[in-house]
Amino acid sequence: MGETTWRTETPVQQPASTARHSLHLVAPIWNLGTSGIRGLSSAVTPEGNQRKGRMLLQFLTDRFYDVEALRGYLFQKQVSKVHKENRFQGKEWIRSTEHGYSPLQLLSFQAVPIEAVDASDCAINYEGLDNLLALKELQSLLLQRCPHVDDWCLSRLHQLANSLQELSLAGCPRISERGLACLHHLQNLRRLDISDLPAVSNPGLTQILVEEMLPRCEVLGAEWAQGLKLGPEEQSRDTASPIPA
């Protein structure tokens, strides 16, 4: 099915010239994802010490139409595989129409587990979290700059402990260090962003304590050295005057 939908896009022209030209023409259709056209060609012909084999293959492709057709076919299969990974069940991203409604196709995906939710700048609150906590396979949750997410909301996140790997709380005005204390339930958390939390009283110390609490997690937050003052030796070097007692 993936191949047929791929073919409805601009078809790849297979010129009679060398296979190298056909490789270049595929590039515009295919957007980000893998490393580049060169990466793909290396996927088709294995790397390593097979330079002689590659040269031979190139010679044969130039000489024989069958070899060229075979290589083209294999190459198409690779590209469509990558393309499938960049799509969802063979379709593009499902976006809401200009009136704000999602197409009916969305309903057919109810059984699909959701892995990531970006609820940044959303006015989600304690009761609204019910919807997110029902997603038992959620791996990434972004709650940046949500104005109503507070310590009480954080105390509910323990329900996602089994799956949550990434959590971002940057910029939420109501979260304090007391709410951050209940993140220790999330033992699978690998990335936590607690930068720019205005209600946290001591960001540097809080960061250290959160890092101790979640040893396997990478915590992004305030630079812990920002609140520290220079020691007396460093100060005298800077100011070149005695420190007032």
């Binding site: 009480w152 954080l154 007391r178 209940c182 339930h185 304590l209 101790e212």
Partner: protein
């Protein structure tokens, strides 16, 4: 316009200054004189406290529909819900009487501030669940126009109760009841406990129950001040004074079986002022006894318990003050940010305080070791002998700690079954109780206040049924035991 300008100048004192220089001496400021005259006129107008003989502004009013004895969190909560549930608005005049407006001995301010749903009695669990909701939405309940929003500084870190072999079965059945009522509690084996909190020594622990949501600790002062501010805005009057006497009237009634009972009604409450013999008789329709540790004494004033023992007249209110110590220590190697409010198998408990590796904790003494509740002096040896060994055994990091300070507070201890007393007295028909919660009054105050207000206004409990906590159980001997007392 010229006259207006002259008045302005007079107000600013220019004319006065001119006059004074002419007379040659310094006269008092013109503005001060004007404000004094204004004050005198205002006090003489109707509505002011002006009495031609003497100033009565410190005395309570002469009439009040409801008099609440005790201005702690329970009393204020009852006042709040009375004003909130009354129909029509402004119908009931409420007066809150407390003998100490600094709350120096009140249990509310001295409390450790914990809130949990891990009780064994379903009513307690429901009370606590509603109170947590109240705290979460505190600004919806207690918001006052133009005042800053309240922040109770809630730490949602949960409670961790540990049970030894013999307590494990009880803990399991308790957790079952808690889950049924809707509390989010989980049971942990010693291995899981060790995994989750590596700083615990699980020696002697057979089972642990851990609250996942809605449990933790908060700032009781914030709740108290928030309630106070809100009910003042709703028109509740406050008075600092001590209730010394109730004027009652009795009537003899016959029960359906022919037995004669004497029913009493309180008509007046005598409120005595601080450091003086002056008192004010306040005529009232209802009295709410929310005097905390001293509720027993207030009940005796109304004649509760004065009768032959074994009868309903002779059943006293079994609430007495019990002193509890709280110690504040620092331990740099202590448990981290994830520390819950932990209660050990021995009864010793502790919790974190702030970010700086400071901890609060204590232990309830056994019956034989009960300290004398006459004063609030702290016994530091109690920590050395009774609290520290258990803490150090359970959390090895606490073997080296430094006690920074300590204080003591009262539990309004119900010697009968350690659960609260709510509702009217069967004989003194217009005295309602809201007391006796033995250490968990603060965390149940919002819900208890609502229950008592419903009882007063509707005659029955509407939301949470607390009929098992009525006074009559003391006479009937029906103990409603709470097994999870910290």
């Amino acid at each position: 316009m010229f006259r207006g300008a002259l008045w302005l100048l007079a107000g600013r004192g220019y004319v006065g200054r001119g006059l004074s220089t002419r007379s040659g001496g310094s006269t008092p400021d013109w503005t001060e004189k004007v404000s004094e005259i204004k004050k005198k006129i205002q006090s003489a107008l109707p509505g002011g406290p002006w009495d031609p003989l003497y100033d009565t502004s410190h005395l309570p009013p002469e009439h009040s529909d409801v008099v609440i004895v005790g201005g702690g969190v329970l009393g204020l909560s009852v006042a709040y819900w009375l004003k909130r549930l009354e129909k029509p608005r402004g119908a009931i005049k409420v007066l809150v009487v407390d003998r100490d407006h600094t709350y120096s001995q009140a249990s509310t301010g001295l409390s450790v501030g914990g809130i949990r749903q891990q009780f064994s009695l379903p009513e307690n669990i429901q009370l606590s669940l509603f109170s947590v909701d109240f705290l979460r939405n505190i600004n919806e309940y207690l918001a006052v126009v133009d005042d800053p929003p309240l922040d109770v500084q809630f730490n949602p870190s949960g409670y961790l109760l540990l049970a030894s072999e013999k307590g494990a079965a009880i803990m399991e059945s308790n957790v079952k009841v808690q889950r049924q009522e809707g509390a989010k509690v989980c049971l942990m084996s010693p291995e899981q406990l060790q995994n989750k909190f590596p700083w615990i020594n699980t020696d002697g622990v057979a089972l642990a129950s851990y609250g996942l949501e809605g449990e933790g600790w908060f700032d009781p002062w914030c709740l108290l001040q928030g309630l106070r501010r809100k009910i003042q805005s709703l028109g509740v009057l406050f008075c600092q004074g001590e209730v010394t006497r109730f004027i009652t009237s009795s009537s003899r009634m016959q029960t359906s079986s022919g037995k004669e009972m004497t029913l009493k009604r309180i008509h007046e409450v005598h409120v005595k002022m601080d450091h003086s013999l002056e008192y004010q008789p306040v005529e009232c329709a209802l009295v709410i006894n929310a005097a905390g540790a001293w509720s027993g004494q207030v009940a005796e004033l109304a004649g509760i318990g004065k009768g032959p023992p074994g009868t309903l007249e002779g059943t006293k209110l079994p609430v007495e003050p019990r002193k509890r110590y709280v110690y504040f220590w620092h331990c740099p190697e202590g448990p981290g940010l994830e520390t819950p409010f932990m209660a050990d198998t021995s009864g010793a408990y502790f919790r974190r305080e702030g970010l700086g590796h400071n901890y609060l904790g204590g232990c309830s003494p056994t019956e034989e070791e009960e300290p004398d509740p006459g004063n609030l002096e702290v016994d530091h040896d109690f920590f050395q002998d009774k609290v520290w060994p258990h803490l150090a055994h359970r959390v090895p990091a606490f073997q080296s700690l430094k006690v920074r300070s300590a204080w003591a507070g009262y539990y309004d201890y119900n010697t009968f079954d350690q659960n609260g007393v709510v509702g009217p007295h069967p004989l003194v028909v217009n005295m309602y109780f809201a007391t006796g919660f033995s250490g968990h009054g603060l965390q149940q105050a919002p819900a208890v206040g609502r229950a008592v207000a419903e009882m007063v206004l509707e005659g029955q409990f509407q939301t949470i049924n607390l009929s098992s906590l009525l006074f009559s159980r003391f006479y009937l001997g029906e103990k409603v035991e709470e097994r999870n007392i910290i």
